[in-house]
């Protein structure tokens, strides 16, 4: 496939790996924020190619994984309401909330549909005018504009049965919260490629400037990630901290202004709860007052029940980059992709799932 296979050529990877080895003279820990990067790194065995001076740590960049139990319980409670169709991305269905999951709610008679896009959720609303369709809005800045666009479309069409449960989250505020906690010591940040395609590489300037941490935006093919690691290693070797792009075909410094405008027209920043991190001001998105009639939280009466955390599950620590999946006593023993305890084992981009599928038995 064009623009994909070219960035997977092993002979070109070898040149990049040699360059990394030449530049990575100092010890450094880089965090790949995005779960999509973690999967590529594990699947392609990139960590094994790096010199011992470099360590890669997975970050909180998996929207499914960071959705906390209280918010999952809201989605599950909505699915139990009569005459409500819950439309969700497929990854969410098996994620265990406090006592149930969307999948279990569906098995118990709830109308839960997997959609690939908000466009499909709008179609469901048009085809089922006697029912209410609630789209479970999860995702970062990559997805936010697509959900905003669906709200504008519903408003334009006069659809009165389309709602969004907005659990959207924003990346720069959570990285700031992680760095402010002082729990993780980073010498470089592998910035998320498709979040940056929307918000632009300039959004990371404050990390380089205020925290002195080199930032490089990476694409999602193995060569992209190797180039990104090489650029970070070069910045570390030169004692620099600036924002660079290793994914120039997809990301510009300014981002996609049309997408940002649409997202900001419909949503405003709000506090959001992150699994393992807690509530972070300005790290979520809620519908603006003029779009309140699309807000599922304001338009339905439902009881999510008390929030219960899963005993022994280390997803929170793993999302903060302070533990790795093999350090969790449940990993591989109790918690598996068939019987997941925490979301990081469910999501295709969760660290635990990536380590389970592609890691070594004692990979830490």
């Amino acid at each position: 496939m064009k623009l994909v296979s070219e960035f997977r050529q092993s002979e070109l990877a070898q040149g990049l790996v040699r360059s990394i080895r030449r530049h990575a003279t100092k010890e450094a820990r880089f965090m790949e924020f995005c779960g999509g990067h973690t999967v590529v790194i594990m699947k392609c065995g990139l960590r094994q190619l790096l010199p011992p001076t470099l360590t890669l740590t997975a970050g909180p960049g998996c929207p499914v994984c960071v959705t906390d139990n209280a918010d999952l319980d809201k989605a599950i409670a909505l699915a139990k309401l009569p005459n409500v169709i819950v439309a969700s991305f497929g990854d969410m269905l098996r994620v265990p909330g406090s006592c149930s999951s969307l999948q279990e709610a569906k098995a118990a008679g709830g109308d839960v549909r997997i959609v690939y896009s908000t466009l499909d959720a709008l179609t469901l609303a048009r085809e089922n005018p006697e029912k209410s369709v609630v789209f479970i809005g999860i995702g970062f800045e990559t997805t936010g504009p697509t959900v905003a666009a669906s709200v504008l479309q519903a408003a334009q069409e006069g659809l009165t049965n389309y709602y969004v449960l907005s659990l959207h989250k924003l990346c720069p505020p959570i990285i700031k919260a992680l760095l402010d906690s002082g729990e993780v010591n980073l010498q470089g940040l592998i910035c998320p490629g498709h979040v940056s395609a929307v918000i632009g590489a300039n959004a990371w300037e404050f990390i380089a400037r205020d925290y002195g941490i080199p930032c490089v935006v990476s694409g999602f093919e193995p060569l992209d990630i190797l180039q990104c690691v090489d650029m970070l290693a070069q910045q570390v070797a030169r004692g620099e901290a600036k924002v660079e792009i290793a994914y120039r075909r997809g990301v510009t410094p300014e981002g996609n202004q049309t997408a940002i405008k649409i997202m900001e027209q419909v949503f405003e920043p709000a506090p959001a709860r992150w699994r393992g991190i807690g509530e972070v001001a300005g790290s979520g998105l809620k519908l603006r007052p003029e779009f309140e009639r699309f807000d599922a939280e304001l338009n339905f009466e439902f009881d999510p029940g008390p929030t219960i955390e899963h005993k022994g599950c280390l997803c929170g620590d793993i999302l903060r980059g302070v533990k790795t999946p093999p350090q969790c006593s449940l990993f591989r023993r109790v918690c598996t992709p068939i019987n997941p305890v925490g979301p990081c084992m469910v999501s295709s981009e969760g660290s635990c799932a990536a380590y389970y599928h592609y890691g070594e038995e004692n990979d830490g």
Binding site: R22, G61, C62, R249, N256
Partner: protein
Amino acid sequence: MCLAVPVRIKSIEGTEAEVEAGGITRKASLILTPQAKVGDYVLLHAGYAINIVNQAEAEQTLALFSQMSQLMEPE
């Protein structure tokens, strides 16, 4: 979750495009990339084109990788 794949625009009608990748054709919304043209590659995420792929940059990056693999002698 933030998965996006490069697809080529085959045709455009209003804000809807027919896009193709690896022999698979599907519909995509161009609402977030109104300047996209037929023949452009776009990053498709959850049914929407979220950005236009800069093909010149893609070629330059690949040329850089080729140079690096030639310059960097095996150890």
